[in-house]
Symmetry: C2
Subunit: 383 residues, 2 copies
């Protein structure tokens, strides 16, 4: 998030908190900001108006409460929580304290998905008939913290990646899912959390959707998406199943956490995201079918297969999904516009995750209770 915080004209990076002393010193040195060991102390700073919470999922409820009670606006990482009660708790805390709560970054903030929604709502392709998102990659074998591999803590692909798929699908389809039927799978005893799923969704208005995910590092859908994944263009290592093999050679969960830390901020394996993101990310293959045409992503923007022609809708590389998260917060705080990705939106995504796993266990279709519609941006009307 940091590069986008730094370049957004309406926000400033003023403080940071982490219990990792080394990182804290690096941040203080690099950005010249206040540093704290705890969120309580950070929230006491009068130089802080809004907090971005990127702590593990099970700490979100407590951290959102602390920030909200300190009257700080909040961006909290997805998944918001693992239980609907926790989600309600955070929503109530934010409302009671009069602060905005935005859940992100998630992929519906990305410019290509935003642009797809814009084309859909313009009506030029008629109504949405089907939405599909299929993603095969190495998710399960990238270095993980222990909680990312425990379903009960919000780990596994259904909670952590399904939440992106449902976010994309709900955003494109208008939000109101009626029912779900899913099969989720746990196939590697050494990483006993969901590694794949096949999910069918129907919206209240009849639009159908599927979300298919396979994180076992065999086939990768980047083969179908111009060699571009969620982190931008692939580096062509040409080594098959590199992630799975690296993890197999890692001796302990502690070693694995070290690997993960090394690829994070200030780490030895850290990527330079500004270089990596030459293209907008592709969260797998997303295909939207409308009555009069289909849409999918293209390296330069979107490919639209219309009634009479197939054409590229270019999308600027300047705008990013993470920039849009900050923008949505600013618009909410400054203009008082209710954000799309508020607590209710995140709770609705979470409900789909929870019911996907439940549908698989009970082997039956389930109905949804907490879905909310997309709040499409209203263009300013002058005059």
């Amino acid at each position: 998030m940091v590069p986008d915080i730094l370049r957004h004209p309406k926000v400033r990076l003023t403080a940071a908190a982490t219990r990792n002393k080394e990182r804290l010193e690096k941040i203080a040195y690099e950005y010249n900001v206040e540093t704290y060991y705890t969120i309580e102390d950070l929230c006491k700073s009068t130089n802080v108006d809004a907090v971005y919470i990127a702590t593990p999922t099970e700490l979100h409820t407590e951290h959102v409460r602390i920030a909200a009670e300190a009257k700080k606006h909040i961006i909290v990482e997805k998944p918001l929580s693992v239980s609907l009660t926790d989600a309600d708790n955070m929503i109530e805390n934010a409302e009671r304290n009069g602060v905005q709560l935005i859940v992100g970054h998630s992929h519906s903030f990305e410019p290509p998905i935003q642009k797809m929604r814009e084309i859909i709502t313009s009506g030029e392709l008629g109504r949405v008939v089907m939405i599909h998102n299929w993603y095969f990659n190495d998710w399960l074998y990238r270095p993980r913290t222990p909680e990312e591999l425990k379903t009960e803590l919000g780990g596994g692909v259904t909670y952590r990646q399904g939440s992106h798929q449902f976010d994309i699908i709900r955003f494109l389809g208008g939000g109101m899912i009626r029912s779900i039927r899913a099969v989720t799978g746990i196939w590697d005893d050494s990483r006993p959390t969901e590694g794949n799923h096949s999910i069918f969704l129907e919206f209240e208005n009849g639009t159908a959707a599927t979300a298919v995910y396979n994180g076992y590092d065999h086939f990768h859908t980047t083969e179908l998406t111009f060699d571009i994944g969620e982190g931008g263009p692939l580096t062509k290592s040409n080594i098959y199943a590199q992630s799975r093999r690296l993890i197999t050679e890692t001796n302990s969960p502690a070693d694995e956490v070290s690997l993960k830390i090394a690829s994070g901020y200030g780490g030895s394996r850290s990527k330079n995201y500004q270089v990596a993101e030459k293209n907008h990310p592709f969260f797998g293959l997303t295909i939207v079918s409308c009555e009069k045409g289909d849409i999918r992503q293209h390296p330069d923007g979107l490919l639209v297969y219309g009634e009479n022609e197939k054409y590229v809708v270019p999308i600027s590389k300047e705008e990013t999904g993470r920039f849009n998260v900050i923008d949505e917060l600013c618009t909410a705080v400054i203009e008082g516009q209710r954000p799309v990705h508020d607590g209710y939106w995140a709770k609705a995504n979470l409900e789909v995750c929870i019911k996907a796993i439940q549908s698989s266990k009970e082997r039956k279709e389930l109905y949804l209770d907490f879905q909310v519609p997309v709040k499409d941006k209203v263009k300013n009307i002058i005059g």
Copy 2:
């Protein structure tokens, strides 16, 4: 079918019947065979042991009865019928008369699908977790006879193309589907039959599957499958939505039938399939995920994404799906081996088609009653 009948060592083309006089004369001249106007007369010939019935779906029951009562073995085109009662009727007629009944050609006869099943049953990749078949093409706008566009006569993509998808998926997953949830769509008033569907299937053993189809001639999945479709490699016309536009300019159903006839045997738009089929057909994108690897088609055979390497399993171009249909009949007749693609198999595929449309109407998951397992070929054991 004719080229494969001619080159199969165990069969001879001895007679043909059609009410189209011009075609009949051409066949008589070209192949030096007996010709008849009706199936009744053809079935009186002592030179006929087996009949291939390629008449419209609604005539299958009557034609199968005639052939069976004349003690001729039968290959009948898919879909077998539109009702389960008709399917039962044909199965009973064949059994009572002691003749073999095979339903085909369908895509599970194709060498790549057969090879996938062989890899699955070998167990080298562990059990099957998910099977997906996704096909986007121009089906609805290819020249059609009126019954192909009437759902109640077995028209539309769910009956005519879903039957291939379910055949592939059931063949790979072992046959026994437990439940289905589907949304089927009719979006073009001028061709009011199913043009797309999104279908979720779960097998009794827990394997999940999806079958997605869109025949509205916008995006084509050949973009994802090496530019190869069910008819082999694409001719690169570079004209977008050519099928839809051609049909829009066609004035009447009669003109459209003429177009279809022109592309059939002896017609002016007839393709030379032997030239076209340089590669095995790709019935859309089929991806099989097993515990220890994924499989998909490749122009030279299959791509296997295994535990440690990704490799091509080559498949000879000599063998074809249509050759395999004839072969299955010969094995059934000569060796008395029960064919995989018998009436019960076809009835099980038909049940999935019927319940897909019903699931969409009732907006709920439905359970299946007439599924049968795959009869895997038993290799001859010597010794």
